[in-house]
C-alpha cells in the first residue's frame, strides 16, 4: 500500500497472510545468505518482527517477496556483524554473488516443498531412512554411519548426492508442471 493510503484492517491482514505464506521461502533465502542453517532460525525471527512492524509500509502494487527479501537481507547483515568473521561461510564478496544468484533463481519454496514430497516418495526405503535419521531425528553423520557400517565421509557423500538428486527432481517436477 502506498504511503498516502489509509491502512485498513483488510490490507494489513493481507500483508500478514503474505508474511506467513512466505515463511519457507524466507527461511531458504536466509539459509542461502548464511551459507547454511546455523543462525537461520534466529535471523528469520528477527526478520519477521521487522516485517510485522513495517507491514503498513508495504506497497501492495509491488511484489511481496522481493520486499520481504530486502528486509531479511538487512537482518542477515546485522547477524553477520555480530559474528566473528571466521565463523561466516561467505565473505562479503561471496555474499553479494550469492544474493544475486538466489534472487535470479526465483525459487518458490512453497511449490518446491510440494514437489519435494513426491521426490522423496521416489527414493528407496533405505535412502528415506537416511534422510529421516539426518533431518527428522537430527542424528549426527557419525552416528548414522556407525549404524550402517559406513565411513562418515561416505555417508556425507551419499547425503550430498541425495540432496542434489532431490533438487534435480524438484526442478524437473516444477518444469513439467509449468509446461503442462
Amino acid at each position: 500500500m502506498s504511503g498516502d493510503e489509509a491502512v485498513t484492517p483488510d490490507r494489513l491482514g493481507a500483508v500478514v497472510r503474505q508474511i506467513a505464506a512466505s515463511q519457507s521461502g524466507l527461511y531458504a533465502y536466509v539459509c542461502a545468505l548464511l551459507g547454511g542453517s546455523r543462525g537461520a532460525a534466529d535471523v528469520l525471527q528477527e526478520a519477521n518482527v521487522v516485517l510485522w512492524e513495517k507491514a503498513a509500509e508495504y506497497d501492495a502494487t509491488r511484489p511481496f517477496l522481493p520486499w520481504a527479501y530486502g528486509i531479511a537481507h538487512f537482518q542477515v547483515l546485522a547477524y553477520r556483524k555480530r559474528q566473528s568473521r571466521d565463523k561466516l561461510v561467505f565473505d562479503d564478496g561471496l555474499l553479494a554473488a550469492v544474493d544475486a544468484a538466489v534472487r535470479r533463481r526465483d525459487d518458490r519454496a512453497d511449490r518446491e516443498l510440494e514437489a519435494l514430497d513426491g521426490c522423496v516418495g521416489k527414493l528407496s526405503p533405505r535412502q528415506r531412512a537416511v534422510l529421516d535419521a539426518r533431518y527428522r531425528d537430527g542424528e549426527a553423520v557419525e552416528a548414522i554411519a556407525g549404524r550402517l557400517n559406513k565411513a562418515p565421509n561416505a555417508l556425507s557423500a551419499e547425503l550430498y548426492r541425495l540432496r542434489k538428486g532431490l533438487m534435480d527432481c524438484v526442478r524437473r517436477a516444477l518444469g513439467r508442471e509449468e509446461t503442462a
Binding site: Y27, R136, E158, K164
Partner: protein
C-alpha cells in the same frame, strides 16, 4: 561443472569423499575455521561451484523445513541439537485430517498453518492497536517463527520440573522442543488430537502435532477421533496409533516398553543392527491386552503384568510394588513369553462398570441396585484373559504384597466348581455380575451402573493369605462361559 573448477564433481555420479564432509559440516553449522576457509576457497571465483553449493544449501533448507527441524541444530551434541521450547521456526503438521499420513516418518509441513492462524488472529490485535485513538505502543507480538505451537499444556499442577526445564503452566502453547518432568504428571494436548500424559521422571520431545518422541521414562497417549495415526517415537520402535490408548516407557539403556490399554497400535520396530538405512520392518499389530518390551539389543519380551491406577493414570511394569499395593504380581504357566499379552492389575480398581478382562470389554457390576458387595469395592483387581476360561492345566500365580483377603469370582455353571477353589477358598455367599454386552450377547449393550445389563452372576469365594507371598490358582470349570475374576483387599 567445468573441469577447471576447484569444486569437485560432487553429486554427478560418484560424489566426492573430499568435499562432502566439509559441506555437511558447514550445513550443520559445525565447520571449523579451517573447514570454512577451504569451502570459501573452493567457491571463490567459481560460479558453477557456488551454484552447486547453493543447491545443497537450498535442498538442506527445504528438508529441514519439511521435517520440522528448521529451528533445530542437526548433528550436534544432544544438547546442542535439542529444539528449545518456543523456538520452533519449523512448520506444523496439519490437524487430524489426513493424519494417517503420520505413519510416514515425515510430514509435509502445511505451510506454517499454525503460524498463519496465529498471525491472522493477531492481526486483530495489531489493527486494534493501530486504530486505537489512545494506542501508543505495539502489543508484544510473537515472532512468526515462534508461532508454531504443536501442543498445549492441559494440566501441570503438582509437577516438579526437571533440571533446566522452565515451569510450564496450563493452557500454554508449546512449540517443538523437549519437556522434562522430575515428578508428578504433566498432561499435554497435542494439536494432532491426542492427550499425552508424562509421568515424572520422564522426558519427551515434541516433534509435531502428530508426533512425540519418548526420550526417557513413562508416557501414556490417548488419541482422539481425529488423531488416528499419531506416532510415539521411541528408541526401540515407532508406535503408530490406530485409535487407542497406549503407554510407552523408555528405560535407561533405551529399552522400550509398549502397553496397549485400549484399541490397537502398529509397532514399527527399529533394528539396532541395521540402523537407519534399513527398510522399515513389517509393522506388528498390538491390540488391547498386549504389552511388549524391546531390549536395546532388539530382543522382544512379553510383559507379564501391568500395574495401573484405577483412575487410569500412571502405570508401572517393573520395580517393587507400588505403595499401598495389595496385589504385587501375576503370572501364568501357559502364555508364550513372546506372545505379548499382559495381566493388568488395577490398583484399588474394583468398582461398578470396571473392565473385567484385558481382552474383552466386559464389566463387573453389582447384581442388583444394591451394588457391589461393600467389602469388595476399592479392591485391587486383576484383569485376566477371558480367553483362558477353558485353558487346561492353567496355573495362575497371584503374589500379594501384604496379608490379604484374596477373592475369586466364579460362575457355577451346572454346579461345577473347580476342586482347587472348593478346597482352598470359602464361598462367601456374595455375588457379582458380569456385563458382557456385545458381541457375545448382541441384543444387549453394555449397561452403566449396578444391576444394569448383567449377563452372568458369579459367586464370590474368599481366602485369607496371612503373609506376603504367592497363591496358585488353577484352571477354570470346563463348561465356563467366562474366565474367573480375581481381587484382593488388605487383611484387617
Amino acid at each position: 561443472m567445468s573441469a577447471q573448477n576447484e569444486w569437485p564433481p560432487l553429486g554427478d555420479s560418484g560424489g566426492s569423499d573430499e568435499m562432502s564432509p566439509l559441506v555437511e559440516a558447514v550445513l550443520a553449522g559445525e565447520a571449523t575455521a579451517e573447514q570454512l576457509d577451504a569451502v570459501r576457497a573452493a567457491l571463490r571465483g567459481s560460479p558453477a561451484a557456488l551454484g552447486a553449493y547453493l543447491d545443497q544449501v537450498h535442498a538442506d533448507a527445504l528438508l529441514r523445513w519439511r521435517s520440522g527441524s528448521a529451528s533445530a541444530g542437526i548433528g550436534g551434541s544432544p544438547g546442542a541439537g535439542a529444539v528449545g521450547l518456543n523456538d520452533g521456526a519449523g512448520p506444523v503438521p496439519g490437524s487430524g485430517s489426513g493424519a494417517r499420513r503420520m505413519r510416514h516418518a515425515w510430514r509435509r509441513p502445511v505451510l506454517a498453518a499454525a503460524a498463519v492462524v496465529a498471525l491472522v488472529g493477531a492481526v486483530a490485535i495489531v489493527v486494534a492497536w493501530r486504530w486505537s485513538p489512545s494506542g501508543r505502543e505495539a502489543p508484544t507480538l510473537p515472532p512468526v517463527a515462534a508461532a508454531a505451537p504443536v501442543a498445549d499444556v492441559v494440566d501441570a499442577a503438582g509437577v516438579t520440573w526437571a533440571s533446566g526445564q522452565r515451569p510450564l503452566v496450563a493452557s500454554e502453547a508449546l512449540s517443538p522442543g523437549e519437556v522434562g518432568v522430575a515428578s508428578g504428571t504433566l498432561r499435554l494436548a497435542a494439536r494432532g488430537d491426542a492427550v499425552v500424559s508424562v509421568f515424572g521422571p520422564a522426558r519427551v520431545r515434541l516433534i509435531s502435532g502428530g508426533r512425540v518422541q519418548a526420550l526417557a521414562g513413562r508416557i501414556t497417549t490417548r488419541v482422539g477421533p481425529a488423531g488416528k495415526g499419531f506416532v510415539v517415537d521411541a528408541p526401540g520402535a515407532d508406535v503408530v496409533d490406530l485409535g487407542t490408548e497406549f503407554g510407552v516407557q523408555v528405560g535407561p539403556a533405551g529399552e522400550t516398553a509398549v502397553v496397549v490399554f485400549d484399541g490397537e497400535v502398529d509397532l514399527n520396530r527399529k533394528s539396532p543392527s541395521a540402523g537407519a538405512g534399513t527398510a522399515p520392518s513389517t509393522p506388528t499389530r498390538l491390540t488391547r491386552g498386549h504389552a511388549v518390551r524391546i531390549a536395546s539389543s532388539g530382543a522382544v519380551d512379553r510383559i507379564v503384568a501391568v500395574d495401573r491406577l484405577s483412575s487410569g493414570g500412571d502405570w508401572r511394569i517393573d520395580g517393587p510394588p507400588a505403595p499401598g499395593a495389595v496385589i504385587a504380581a501375576v503370572h501364568d504357566n501357559v502364555r508364550d513369553p513372546a506372545g505379548g499379552m499382559y495381566y493388568q492389575i488395577a490398583r484399588g480398581g474394583l468398582a461398578e462398570d470396571v473392565r473385567a478382562y484385558v481382552d474383552r470389554s466386559y464389566e463387573w457390576n453389582g447384581v442388583d441396585a444394591a451394588g457391589l458387595p461393600p467389602e469388595l469395592v476399592g479392591a485391587d483387581l486383576v484383569m485376566p484373559f477371558n480367553s483362558d476360561k477353558r485353558t487346561p492345566e492353567l496355573a495362575l500365580t497371584v503374589t500379594v504384597a501384604r496379608p490379604a483377603a484374596l477373592y475369586v469370582f466364579h460362575e457355577p455353571r451346572h454346579g461345577e466348581v473347580p476342586e482347587w477353589l472348593r478346597r482352598d477358598f470359602t464361598d462367601t455367599g456374595l455375588k457379582v455380575g458380569l456385563d458382557e454386552g456385545p458381541p457375545d450377547l448382541r441384543q444387549k449393550a453394555i449397561g452403566a451402573g449396578s444391576g444394569q445389563s448383567v449377563d452372568r452372576v458369579f459367586t464370590v469365594w474368599r481366602r485369607e493369605v496371612r503373609a506376603a507371598g504367592s497363591v496358585v490358582l488353577g484352571e477354570n470349570s470346563p463348561a465356563a462361559k467366562s474366565m474367573y475374576g480375581i481381587a484382593a483387599v488388605p487383611l484387617k
